[in-house]
Symmetry: C2
Subunit: 366 residues, 2 copies
Amino acid sequence: MVAFSEADCAHMARALQLATRGQYSAHPNPMVGCVIVKEGRSVGEGWHERAGEPHAEINALAAAGDNAKGATAYVTLEPCAHHGKTRPCVEALIASGIGKVVVAMADPFDQVAGRGIDALHAAGIAVDTGLMAASAESLNEGFICRVTHGRPFVRLKVAASIDGAIAMKSGESQWITAPEAREDVQRLRARSGAVMTGIGTVFADDPSLNVRTSGLNTGGLQPLRVVLDSRLRMPVTARMLALPGATLVCCSGDHDISPLQDAGAEVLSCVAKGRTVDVGAVLNELARRDINDVLVEAGPAVSGFMLQEEFVDELVIYQAPHIMGSETSRMFRTSSWSALADRKPLEIRDVRRIGSDTRITARVQY
Amino acid sequence: MVAFSEADCAHMARALQLATRGQYSAHPNPMVGCVIVKEGRSVGEGWHERAGEPHAEINALAAAGDNAKGATAYVTLEPCAHHGKTRPCVEALIASGIGKVVVAMADPFDQVAGRGIDALHAAGIAVDTGLMAASAESLNEGFICRVTHGRPFVRLKVAASIDGAIAMKSGESQWITAPEAREDVQRLRARSGAVMTGIGTVFADDPSLNVRTSGLNTGGLQPLRVVLDSRLRMPVTARMLALPGATLVCCSGDHDISPLQDAGAEVLSCVAKGRTVDVGAVLNELARRDINDVLVEAGPAVSGFMLQEEFVDELVIYQAPHIMGSETSRMFRTSSWSALADRKPLEIRDVRRIGSDTRITARVQY
């Protein structure tokens, strides 16, 4: 185990901070930050903004110029050794004459996985790994989930009153939460490769499910809109079909898909599982399409189904300071949970006030 | 407006702190604290422990002895001028030779209301009032509510999962929250003159509704247990009837009350209001019996009814970090709320972790 100094920690913390600048634009690539330090001072910083554009190390080396010689590079993820859309970062690091590289975590991606570190070692460059590894991992949880498990990280968002209601029985639900919470949902969407909903929500709310906030640096990315619609009832007039970004409608069985295709949707014929499409297969397909994070914004049926099937990794609850009472819809339809022992414990990770609402972020423990 | 110094604030803050020592034992009297200060130093402290025993001022004067002469007394509530169970405090203050009295708030109780301050003035003692009045008022909210509005302060407690469930549909509900939260409920009970429930909860849970925690200084007080039971179905075998403390069963119409009386209950025949007893009249009767604070611990029917009728002043929600799903009972049955506009906003006063649960204290805004 390498002993890291306080200065090491400060530089890596800065690199992690830089990495988060790519949170809305870097995916499907991981967020990465890099700081080059010479004689205790930062001489170059970089972060990865967008797939196909230079990696964090390249940007930091460019900023450092000749100062990179003999300096130490702090990188939040193992530098790549493979030719992807850009030249390998290890080549650039070696060419710069860098003296040492400190890496927060090895790249879980098969084509990199240790080879970047090996290549640096082979060039006689000292490499220390594991500094702030937990922070680096939590930064790219979706990416890591996809490349190691072949499925995206699934985050389920729900807006409810303090007594757990998401709508009146009439369907009236606009709005449960205040504008600040709805604005915060835009950030959840912007960090997701896909937003998933059910056909029931399309009928009830005709949602847009796009990123509308101009202040977020998404580089023009829009999450893929995924609609679970086993019987292909999706109306060609659905609002989301006319918006920037793509819509994927997942059905099962034989249907005439051409009207929806003409309306701009991609229709995916999926295996059925019971009365719904096989959501596990859909998630695998999304991972195959390089989607790291899926945000589920759906009604009680789909949300409850996702929980019962244990597909939900993280729950984000926006809790409004209201009592809505009994003539309302619940958050989750979970017909298979009949005993108290069926309940699912949550590990609360974060609680904070968003405007007048409370946002609770939790992991579901199955 | 009197200008108070930092030292004044510190002494009154101490007096308020002393007052809270009586939170489980002083009712139906208000909590009161007193600090006697001479030449900037505290020479005597006192608080009111129990009805019939000396008031805070008397205890503080006893501690101060001759040092009271020319000193300043900081009292959280206007000293009494009437002969109740004890001699008036103003007489003792005057006799002690006290130089000045600083009072947080005037006593709202008719028999005192300004007369204590007048009597001190008449004896040539300077009196300043209003220092930390808001804190003093919130300390004795129940007492103030009773003497000014003729009804107790009503606090409704509910234990629920994060998705708003209080039990499985089977009735299984033990336990939604962890031991720490249930222990905290003991403190809510201990500060209440009465605990109210419905006959449905008696049938479902056969609750004790008493204070069992030995660490609380209640001086032997038990809250009055009040059961809303319009058709007088209360079983003579109900657990609470055999426990220390009194039980009041509120029914309407003609019933044979002798079996329940023999089992130790008091049966109150109330006016009916629709299908239930007139809860407003019950609350007035409880105030007449000198009950400052009522804690409602009931099922969705009574809890929802209390909310719909706008009887609830404060809501205390113990929220367990679990998802219980749809095959469950809701917190409140509110059949008359059908539109989103019917929901009741909450003013959140306090949120804190109690063990693994979250306690939310809020005022209901009607």
